[in-house]
Amino acid sequence: MLLDLVDIIRENWLLLLIGQYPNGPLGGFAATLILSVLSIALAFPLSVLIAFARFSTNPLLLWPATVLVYVARGVPLLMLILWVYFMVPLLIGANVPGFVTMLVTLVIYEGAFLSEVVRGGIVALGRGQVETARALGHGYFGAMIHIILPQALYNVMPSILSQFVSAIKETTLGYVINVPELTFAANQVNNQLLTKPFEVFFLLAIIYFLVCWTLTRAALVLERRIAHKRAGMPGVALSLNPQMPVPEP
């Protein structure tokens, strides 16, 4: 069994790592990594914008943001992926690569979810901090950027992190629209070997686990470092509790 695993890795590591590249699109672990990093990197700023829009009194900002959040919460990600995959080419009259479809869908979906986490973090700070910043003459965005977000984002770091981890795992859904990411590559390997599905998918699970675990550890280190710097600020107690409630709208 262990030998089988080693054999599978030895014979297929390149396919698992980069897919068919350079003869085909970049795939495998590299595609998973790029998809994850890009979707997180884009979803995060989007989530802050959505959170702001949800605080806005302007209906042109408030309503689209609210609808987006409710749709993302109410529709399974797989439905959303299939919907974008089949509908967007019809709407814009051009083919969209699976990778782009997957990326856009993930960014919007994760952005909507993360926005609720961010919003919860801001609400949990209470009115006093904003009021104080405004009393000192900071504008709305100045207060948000310099005073509110650094505290709110820090306090909800565990929730943000678990959202990041789930984003990595959600890239596996790219499989259904033929994005050649890691799961897709593993399935190719499995189709070649035919007799070793348990070993192949066990290997796949280990790889995902290691990536997610590493990210969790890295975030913990980062969190400790900030906590150390701010020694004992109230947010630390909150951040150690991953179950911090996010207020419903």
């Binding site: 006093g128 901090q129 009021e131 104080t132 910043a133 405004r134 009393a135 000192l136 003459g137 900071h138 504008g139 709305y140 100045g142 310099h146 005073i147 650094p150 505290q151 820090y154 701010r230 020694a231 004992g232 600020m233 109230p234 947010g235």
Partner: protein, 255 residues
Amino acid sequence: MTQETPTAKVEPMIRFSNVNKNYGGFQALVDINAEVARGEVVVVCGPSGSGKSTLIRTVNRLEEIHSGTITFDGRSVHGKMRGSELNHLRSRIGFVFQSFNLFPHLSALENVTISPVKVNGVDREQARDRAMRLLDRVGLSAKANAYPAQLSGGQQQRVAIARALAMEPPAMLFDEPTSALDPEMVGEVLAVMRGLAADGMTMMCVTHEMGFAREVADRVWFMDAGQILETAEPSVFFGDPQHARAQRFLSDLRH
């Protein structure tokens, strides 16, 4: 923005004219007419719920009013204005909260420098130097690098005062600055406020510290049910309060 005309010199620092404010159906401020002169220290007192916080928070427009006008340094606070004008106005009104509200993610020094740097565009080094001097003035230069969680309540409130002073406001407003403090820390905060008064700062303080009022205030305003019932010099107010409600308030305080 400020009118540096000769009339501005005789203009009081803060002037309330026929100010009314409601919360829903409840009238929190009733026909307020009062002035805080330049360099004057006014102590606002009165029973809980009488509208002291509401009154002081209308001065920098943390609360809106429904009718009347409030002027600060000759400029109407509640008139139509752009957001940036309101921010500028607020930056010139020092405000100290009962609950300190230091920014917990910033050190004491950064709490004091962030607003001059981000709001007024003061050079970082210059803001730092000034902040160190202000922290020294409130007796906390040794704590410049401490975070709020590492400071006692009294120390936090003194940093909050330094933070407000860093904007070089012509007047300071205090809303019960010592009410959230343990008794042994009240003195250190009042001492800083005394120092400010002695330096000629215009101050409007909501406080239950009647010793401070007696000693430092130029005038005491007594509020009840959203009205200013009495304004008098402390010796007059404490020696011979005119209003029955004020007499009762003072005798309650003594027991």
